[in-house]
């Protein structure tokens, strides 16, 4: 069965101008509604926008991010991504995930492959890129993050910061439209946080659409176009970094900022 045929059958949904991802009333319940990880989230992410999501642990921010590419199946609600309703069960989610790459807290490089293979296996098998082209591109990207000498290393031979930089360029090999970052620096030793944030800042400058869940308030302040504060599965407050950090409105956000700043 060809995926192309399925794609044609998918109903194109009209998106508001410039909006790449549109989330409506997204809910994720556990234990039949006893635990509400996400309790009605609405969010539009514009093309080229950098959205940073902050909040206390258990606020649902990671669950929200992981719902965007359906790693978590939402209980209800819709997610529109570039004209397609990806919460429709009939949709071929794999096609959409290719353009919506994710970077994880624990890097999750493929342990059985070298760095180079990590970066070429998906383009070669999913986008039918030739081996030569895939490797050329991977090496160029590795060079950009200063790791071209580690192409033949296995993940177990790299430091945390190196692993995360590889994870980011592995995602870039797929030419994504949007990048999702799930606490990308939380598992790193403090001295390695900077090297990963630098790569992310570079991406933001180039105009990549990004949704980032992080505890790095400095990064949020410097790079975000919009900061979203979540608590108890809801969006409590959102705005520009200046609004959020200098003029917080809600008590929840004030308490949170007092603790983390």
């Amino acid at each position: 069965m060809s995926a192309d045929k399925k794609q044609k059958n998918e109903n194109k949904v009209k998106m508001p101008d410039g909006v790449l991802i549109s989330v409506r009333n997204l809910k994720k319940y556990y234990l039949g509604g006893e635990v509400k990880a996400l309790d009605g989230i609405d969010m539009d992410i514009k093309s080229g926008e950098v959205v940073v999501i902050i909040g206390p642990s258990g606020s649902g921010k990671s669950t929200f991010l992981r719902s965007l590419n359906l790693l978590e199946l939402p209980t209800s609600g819709t997610i529109l991504f570039d004209g397609a309703d990806i919460t429709d069960p009939k949709i071929n989610i794999n096609k959409h995930r290719q353009r919506m790459q994710m970077v994880f807290q624990h890097f999750d490089l493929f342990e059985n492959m070298t760095v180079l293979k990590n970066m070429t296996v998906a383009p070669m098998n999913l986008m039918k890129v030739s081996k030569d082209d895939a490797e050329k591109k991977a090496l160029a990207l590795l060079k950009r993050v200063g790791l071209d000498d580690r192409a033949d290393s296995y993940p177990s031979q790299l430091s945390g910061g190196q692993k995360q930089r590889v994870a980011i360029v592995r995602a870039l090999c797929m030419d994504p439209t949007v990048m999702l970052f799930d606490e990308p620096t939380s598992a790193l030793d403090p001295e390695m946080v900077g090297e990963v944030l630098d790569v992310m800042k570079g991406l933001a400058k180039e105009g990549m659409t990004m949704a980032v869940v992080t505890h790095e308030m400095g990064f949020a302040r410097e790079v975000a176009d919009r900061v979203v504060f979540m608590a108890d599965g809801k969006i409590v407050e959102q705005g520009t970094p200046a609004d959020i950090f200098e003029k917080p409105q809600s008590e929840r956000l004030k308490t949170f900022l007092a603790k983390v700043l």
């Binding site: 590419n69 790693l71 199946l73 069960p89 009939k90 794999n94 096609k95 995930r97 290719q98 790459q101 994710m102 994880f104 624990h106 999750d108 490089l109 493929f110 342990e111 059985n112 296996v121 998906a122 098998n125 999913l126 296995y154 177990s156 031979q157 592995r170 995602a171 797929m174």
Partner: protein
């Protein structure tokens, strides 16, 4: 006095040796029994691994995909659920009944009309081993970090591509020692084949015992042969593990 005793002991052992192994070419019984044991084990391991892979694939893919597939519905979900049910019954029955009983059922009921003993024994031990191999593969798939699976899916691979490129290569390496142990267990387990009259190594030793009325030498010879086979298998297993480790670290 002691000298005389020792001498007579040696004489005794020598005549016993001749009686048990040389006379009437009785060593040939042991050799053909050994060959039969090796053949049964070889085919049973192959059948067991094939069944194990299929069952583990069905059971794992059902448990990992049922939520999504149920949401989508359709024929493939019902088929997979049906196959999963069959696999679970198979696992329960095989692991819940003694091997000897399975052997007798295979020999006297299922393949009663077959007179190919090697075929029947290989099938019975293979089907038996398949259940344990399936559990080994299943736990191997479970032993791979969940993040590897999520990374594969989020990069855009479908379930089967994720299994093929990422999960199974890692799972296989993790289960190799256990798989080797299963082969060793199976080799020893085939010694019950004599129960239905199949002339394997154990049965051959027992046959010699019943003809010569001396148990010591034939049974020790049988035990020593198994021991040597197991030691060889263990050696090969360790060698393979080492070379796999070298490949990746």
């Amino acid at each position: 006095m002691t000298l005389l005793n020792e001498e007579s002991m040696w004489e005794n052992l020598k005549s016993q040796f001749i009686l048990n192994f040389v006379k009437d070419h009785r060593y040939r019984l042991l050799l053909s029994g050994l060959l039969e044991t090796l053949k049964i084990t070889f085919f049973a391991v192959i059948i067991g691994v094939v069944i194990g892979i299929i069952v583990a694939a069905v059971v794992s893919s059902y448990s990992q995909n049922k939520e999504r597939m149920k949401r989508r519905g359709g024929f493939s979900f019902h088929l997979l659920r049906f196959l999963n049910g069959i696999c679970n019954i198979y696992l329960a029955v095989i692991r819940g009944t003694p091997t000897v009983v399975q052997l007798m059922i295979g020999y006297f009921i299922i393949w009663a009309s077959s007179n190919n003993e090697l075929f029947v024994a290989s099938m019975v031990f293979g089907i038996n081993s398949g259940a344990y191999v399936a559990e080994i593969f299943r736990s191997g798939i479970g032993s791979v970090d969940k993040g590897q699976f999520e990374a594969g899916r989020s990069i855009g691979f479908n379930y089967f591509q994720t299994m093929r490129y990422i999960i199974i290569p890692q799972a296989f390496k993790n289960v190799l020692p256990t798989l080797g142990n299963e082969a060793i267990t199976l080799l020893k387990e085939t010694s019950v084949a004599g129960y239905v009259g199949i002339m394997d190594l154990t049965k051959a030793g027992d046959l010699i015992r019943s003809r010569t009325y001396s148990a010591f030498l034939p049974l020790i010879a049988v035990a020593a042969t198994y021991l040597v086979l197991v030691l060889i298998l263990t050696f090969l297993q360790h060698k393979l593990e080492r070379s796999l480790k070298k490949n990746e670290r």
